[in-house]
Symmetry: C2
């Protein structure tokens, strides 16, 4: 029985539509209960599509490109593949939106087309990162960049959103929630983090483990770390940039190490490939805009078939786990907003 | 001729006073124009001191420890080694303060005892980080944690302070100044970064290269990156934590790679040691509180003799280069403050 429908922006990303189509077919073969609505240039999509089972194509020539100004693009390019995918959700024709395209535009589509859940002031972007440590695990960081400024109440909402996500998608029973701060002591930080600390500590529904410094964030200290979008984004990008720089340095050291070193590098290749796999984020899927009426999910612009597949799997888990109805219930019963945000 | 005097908190850090005394002796042997005023437990210091030339000891039993509350400790522990070192500067008996002790307390000593330079609202902590990239260079990040909140005008002041530092200490002729932000476009960011962008762009004395994302910060895009203290601290700690985690992963991969891998690791050892050296921050000295009336410099708590020496060398360069008198001149002639900050 077909119960789930995912709207797919087939034209977003560097490898579109080829990687998107291939990833969709892989997910389609695994999830027999799911239908995929593809939006994009029909001829281009058909060039790569092998089997149309549970895949429908809605043709459009219009596209949002990487340097489009997000809000303007969403408002003016009414027939862009990303906009049509978001509209399918708004019109109840699909349960979630997927895109590898312009992040800002997708966030704007989530906010302006899909729309906020009642009681949530500022939807936040949730990212999943591997721990890089002894633990094989991962953690969620939100807001990782949907907002440039946040109030303490928003961080409280992110704690609830992140908790449900970690439970439903990563099967963490009682997620440890940490607050990103510039010290571990309760009194540390800005006015926003000091006030957020109190809100989190006073909420019995939150398994609050206190302040987390970004130096410790990879050491399995929390399952969900909440932050204002500006700092969350800066920390996410610092982690990604540093991991990539250090791995490049290691690679250079191996390549420029003379004959003996080259033999050494050859002998170590299996271990280093394993390490690379451990640091690979794609198995965790894409970044999810949480707080809107359906999962709005962004995979990396350079996503390949496998990353698209993993992200569709992640979306499937969110829909199947009824994450959004649970958000709606929770926020209709609990008021975590300030007056100015309503 | 003895012209320079450095006040040293001999009791700060995990390896005090041994590492501090050894580092001081090494610096003393190199810088014949410099006298070192050591504050701490005289017997303990003498246990490690080989030669008293240009070294004086002021005995005190009192110490600030790592979990002391900074401001309270500075106010109550009037005879702590760190407080006496800062007072020596205030009383014109020394030109700079050095400590490996409690960072918060040292910042408080800088602000409350050494005192702000007129025209500077919020002194900022400057850190120096290696690029980790193809470039062998480094960059400065400030404020890296002296403040939890900053106004746009403070970031403008940091740009000037960082520019002089990069010129005087790192011999960068025309330092490229970047603004840490969550996107490269001029309109990006919070109200603080948007306004700071304008101030930096309009100041002809600043070689402003625009917004820098933390993912690109290690790629030789700027010599000085200015940030509010909360985000700067988060990014600094994320870079340090990630670099350390990734290097541990690499090490584990090498150690757990079986017999063939172990031979490989052995062959690669010289290259990996070289890499470790490249990532070593200690050659750049300590973190400097800029905007106070003398260099107030914090080396890492785990500093060894070499790190202490490098940091004293850095301090010597700042004093010799007359960095502080240049700050005083500049800020007496240029008003970069808002009314509320004066």
């Amino acid at each position: 029985m077909i119960g789930l429908k995912i709207a797919v922006d087939a034209m977003g990303g560097d490898n579109a539509p080829q990687a998107v189509v291939a990833g969709v077919e892989r997910a389609r073969d695994e999830f027999k209960d799911t239908e995929f609505l593809l939006f994009g240039v029909e001829d281009e999509i058909r060039k790569f599509l092998k089997d149309e089972t549970r895949i429908t194509i809605t043709h459009t020539d219009e596209m949002i490109v990487m340097n489009d100004e997000p809000v303007r693009a969403i408002r003016r390019k009414k027939n862009a593949s990303m906009v049509l995918a978001a509209k399918a959700v708004k019109d109840d024709e699909a349960d979630a939106v997927f895109s590898c395209g312009n992040t800002g535009a997708l966030l704007a589509a989530g906010l302006l087309i899909v729309g906020r859940i009642k009681g949530i002031s500022r939807p936040g972007l949730l990212s999943t990162l591997p721990m890089f440590g002894e633990s094989a695990g991962a953690f969620n960081l939100l807001d990782s960049g949907a907002n440039a400024e946040n109030k303490p109440e928003h961080l409280h909402q992110y704690a609830v959103l992140g908790k449900y996500y970690a439970q439903k998608v990563r099967q963490v029973e009682n997620p440890r929630i940490g607050l990103l701060n510039n010290g571990t002591e309760p009194h540390k930080g800005s006015k926003v983090t000091q006030e957020a600390y109190k809100l989190l500590q006073e909420d019995p529904a939150i398994n609050f483990v206190g302040n987390i410094e970004s130096s410790a964030i990879l050491n399995d200290v929390a399952d969900v770390v909440v932050a204002d979008g500006f700092t969350g984004n800066a920390v996410l990008k610092a982690i990604e940039g540093t991991a990539s720089s250090v791995m490049h340095l290691v690679k250079d050291a191996l390549l420029n190490s003379g004959f003996k070193g080259k033999i050494g590098a050859l002998l170590l290749k299996p271990s280093l490939m394993e390490l690379k796999e451990k640091m690979n984020q794609s198995q965790y899927g894409g970044a999810v805009l949480l707080g809107v009426k359906a999962p709005v999910v962004k995979a990396h612009g350079s996503s390949d078939e496998l990353t698209v597949y993993y992200t569709l799997k992640q979306i499937h888990t969110m829909i199947e786990g009824k994450m959004i109805p649970d958000f709606v219930d929770y926020f209709s019963q609990h008021n975590l907003s300030t007056k100015t945000d309503k």
